[in-house]
Amino acid sequence: MAAGPSAPGSKPVPAAKDSNCLAGLSFVFTGELSAFSREEATDLAKRFGGRVVSQPSSRTDYVVLGADAGPSKLAAIKKNNLKTLDEDGFLNLIATRVPDYTDDKLKKKIEKEQDAIRAAANELERREKEIEKKVKGKEKGKDQISNTVPLGSQLWVDRYSPHTLKEVCGNKGQIEKLQQWLNDWPSSLKSGFKKPGKNAMNTSRAVLITGPPGIGKTTAAHLCAKLAGFTPIELNASDARSKRLVENSTNVSNTSLDGWMHGTEATNAAGVKITDKSCLIMDEVDGMSAGDRGGVVALVALIRKTKIPIICIANDRGAQKLKPLIANAFNLPFRRPEAAAIRSRLLTIAFKEKMKVPANVIDQLVMGAQSDIRQVLNMLSTWKLSNNAIDFDQGKDLSKMNEKYTVLTPFDVTYKMLGPYMFSATARETLGDKMELYFHDPSFVPLFMQENYLKTQPSRIKNDAGPEKTLKHLELMDKAASSLSDGDLVDALIHGPEQHWSLMPLHAVCSTIRPASFLYGSGGGYGGQNPMSFPAWLGQNSKQSKLNRELMDMQARMRLKVSSDRHELRQSYIPALFPYVVKPLMDEGVSAVGTVITRMDDYFLNRDDWDTLVELGLDEYKDEVVLKKITPATKTGLTRKYNAADHPIAFHKATDLGKVPKKLAAQGPAPDLEEAP
């Protein structure tokens, strides 16, 4: 019997009395519900204003229990004495509950939030008016073309970018550190970067900020620099930053004629106004790619002697080319801000733009964009073009539409595939969705499946017991294994001479989806004893080809004496040669070296072949076992004595003789196999 819902979609969602009926409640879901998948259920809770957390704690209001709830969650329920609901109870709660607006606490909280939003929106309004005034004044005063864009046509992202540090969402601690470092800069410069200071930062002449896009790294860097009285000079991926250019353009004290001609302030070669206090912001340093050869190295050289602060910004801290930079700059990793940290800011902006956006929709959007504030703002501003309000479902669709496509690792794919949810009856993934998972990495996923498919406790047999269970388990394993075998046949067609790439979807089904559909279940990454592992096939395969090559060399040398091919050599000769070439060294030690070498010479074997011969052994002749019985003295004795004398050689390697390889023509079209003989 498969686990899970007996009747997916059988129960309708009741009409709620209040659209925010679950407000103020937090829920934990565990186990499988009968009519809803996990995702649908959590969506329901969120839609009606509830909060969904993954682990139960004393502050959880309700735990919604399904079949086969996790044991750790059950324990937590007991410990914290939590209220539990079944599926019907949960639906009932939605249908009947009316949030207690008379409750003072709740009321005050809501009011307070609203007030804060209103105040912040007013503040925004005021600031914009000020700016507008300033711009107008400027335009009147000077007959110059202003390059400021009127506020109304600015992107929201620019228009509402934070003006004070308080407005930056999240990463407060890191921003404070940055601020401190910039404030301390003059004194640390004076002390020659010897005094570490409060955050141990003042010995670095540069800071490297890393973190995912859209969380305010650049904004924070600019703000901090401005607030500390520096003039930021920003160079980003749009500027060429090769070695030479970094060296030249960052030479900040070089004034250019261009600036002087315009009769305004002096600017440097890069066209940036120069004050006595500048701060260099190198944005997107991991984007210094092929065109910017030597850029990172030049940057590091610059950092070593700079007299102005340098702030570098990158996305991927682990990138190989950032290695030298990480060693020379203080690292400030920025994290994705929590939805709660962004919520009020986004609500303020929405309020100011006269959009009706409920808080749970904002949360949904933030979650969908993975806390990328910039993306959420862009999404909202696009939405504003056609609508003034957005509800839960629309929000969901919008974030789905703007979903960032991330490539899962084969590990993740295997976890998902073999996990208990992908094939459970409440799962809503279509065959296409499952195939999509395979296509995250079509060459590795099948290998991972083959390595790990036996590590689960299949959900299909969890209601059976005794011999019945064992038999069914074996049957499922058999089906899965034969499907994997099918998959390999398809793979041979795909990678064969005719390259049937159109069979990839079939390969996805045979190699990945079908086996998983039999053996999915908990275990292996879901708390089972067998963790998922990296496929052994790769290592074993390269070992096989290495030994095969060595065996082939050996056969070529022995060919003058021995007629057998390499398979026969391995299967008959090596076991037969073993007592003459290896065994004496195990039994007699150094004294046997002489006879062993004569025997090797008979077959034109050299010292390396001896190693191969030992390496090829199995079972009681396995190399580890054998080498343990040969003393190091014997082995060095063998090497020394072998090297001391001349030996017959079957042939010289062509490369040793300096032969020039003959070029083969391209393979050309394959011959027509169907032609009459």
Binding site: H473, A556, L618, D619, T655
Partner: protein, 357 residues
């Protein structure tokens, strides 16, 4: 001193011990002056290469015994270097195209064209043509085999090809029809015993206990090479070759047997994974997958009930075919192992539960 197998290998057709009618035919073919392309096939250790060498000697005289190995390097369009070892005398050369895997077609064409374009320089040579021996012809790709067809006809004037294979089943029909097929069957036990007696007399000792030699012959299953190697090993171990002896199996065979026992002892996912590690070990140590499957299947069949034997062998055959067609041998080996476990367990509980009721 080399091993006896190599020491006492027959050098001419007259010295061969068995298949006398075949020897006679080869002798007259070599004498006729009209020597065809040939295909020698038969199980390993039956004496194919020995017979080829003897025939060549009959054709060209003692000159063919002066062998040298010449390593040739080729550069593929994808700039990979390929080493090809060519064993050659003045009159013939021998190549093993399976050394270069998928590039066998171009390499063979390149080598054959070279030979075909050069005339025999030696005025005293008995024949105008050179002979090319192609080893492991059954592992030639289909492309390479197809390319051979034309070559075999075109260069008939100064080249003959001798193919050497274990079975003809993997050769395409056009190739077979262009060759004179020579089957070198495995020697019978009596024939092997004669050879071993001959070796003993050359080695100057007398076989006192004939049953020991018979036992060796039976164990070798038609592989004379194996028989002689075992014969020598036993002689070295016991000294006298008397009395009851146990023939030590080679390392890989005992290992396969262990795997077979693992399958019959326990049937569980964990056991399959243990078996998988062992299979990887066998594969990576250059034991061909078909040999592994055959040996393990033989062991399993030995252990199980009569009624299961046919089934297990059937599935072994099915998965052997799949192994040949597919890429990753382990997938199919493992699928067979799981299949056998499932069959075995079902049978086991079938009896168990039947007896309870």
């Amino acid at each position: 001193m080399s091993l006896w197998v190599d020491c006492y290998r027959p050098k001419s057709l007259d010295e061969l011990h068995y298949h006398e009618s075949l020897s006679a035919r080869l002798r007259s073919l070599a004498a006729s002056g009209d020597f065809p392309h040939m295909l020698f096939y038969g199980p390993s250790g039956a004496g194919k290469k020995t017979r080829i060498a003897c025939t060549l000697k009959e054709l060209f005289g003692k000159g063919v015994e002066k062998l040298k190995i010449d390593q040739r390097v080729f550069l593929t369009p994808s700039r990979r270097k390929l080493d090809v070892n060519v064993v050659q005398s003045n009159f013939h050369l021998e190549i093993t195209p399976s050394e270069v895997g998928n590039y066998d077609r171009v390499v063979i064409q390149e080598l054959l064209k070279e030979i075909a374009q050069t005339q025999q320089v030696d005025i005293n040579a008995r024949h105008r043509f050179k002979v090319v021996v192609i080893n492991e012809a059954d592992s030639l790709t289909r492309d390479a085999q197809a390319a051979l067809r034309r070559t075999m006809e075109k260069y008939m004037s100064n080249m003959r090809i001798i193919l050497c294979a274990n079975s003809t089943s993997k050769l395409i029909a056009p190739i077979k029809s262009r060759c004179l097929l020579v089957r070198v069957a495995a020697p019978t036990e009596e024939e092997m015993v004669t050879v071993m007696k001959h070796v003993a007399s050359r080695q100057n000792f007398r076989i006192e206990d004939e049953s020991v030699v018979c036992e060796i012959a039976r164990d070798a299953e038609g592989n004379l090479r194996k028989a002689l190697l075992v014969f020598e090993a036993l002689k070295m171990q016991t000294g006298s070759l008397n009395g009851p002896i146990t023939i030590a199996k080679p390392d890989w065979e005992t290992y396969c047997i262990k795997v077979g026992d693992m399958i019959t002892q326990e049937q569980s996912p964990q056991r399959v994974m243990d078996v998988r590690t062992k299979l990887y070990e066998l594969l990576s140590h250059c034991i061909p997958p078909t040999v592994i499957l055959k040996t393990i299947a033989a062991r399993v069949v030995e252990k199980v009930d009569e009624s299961l034997k046919a089934d297990i062998m059937h599935w072994a055959a099915v998965y052997e075919v799949r192994m040949r067609v597919g890429n990753k041998k382990i997938f199919h080996l493992e699928a067979w192992v799981v299949k056998v476990m499932s069959i075995y367990k079902h049978f086991f509980y079938g009896i168990d539960m039947g007896s309870f009721e």
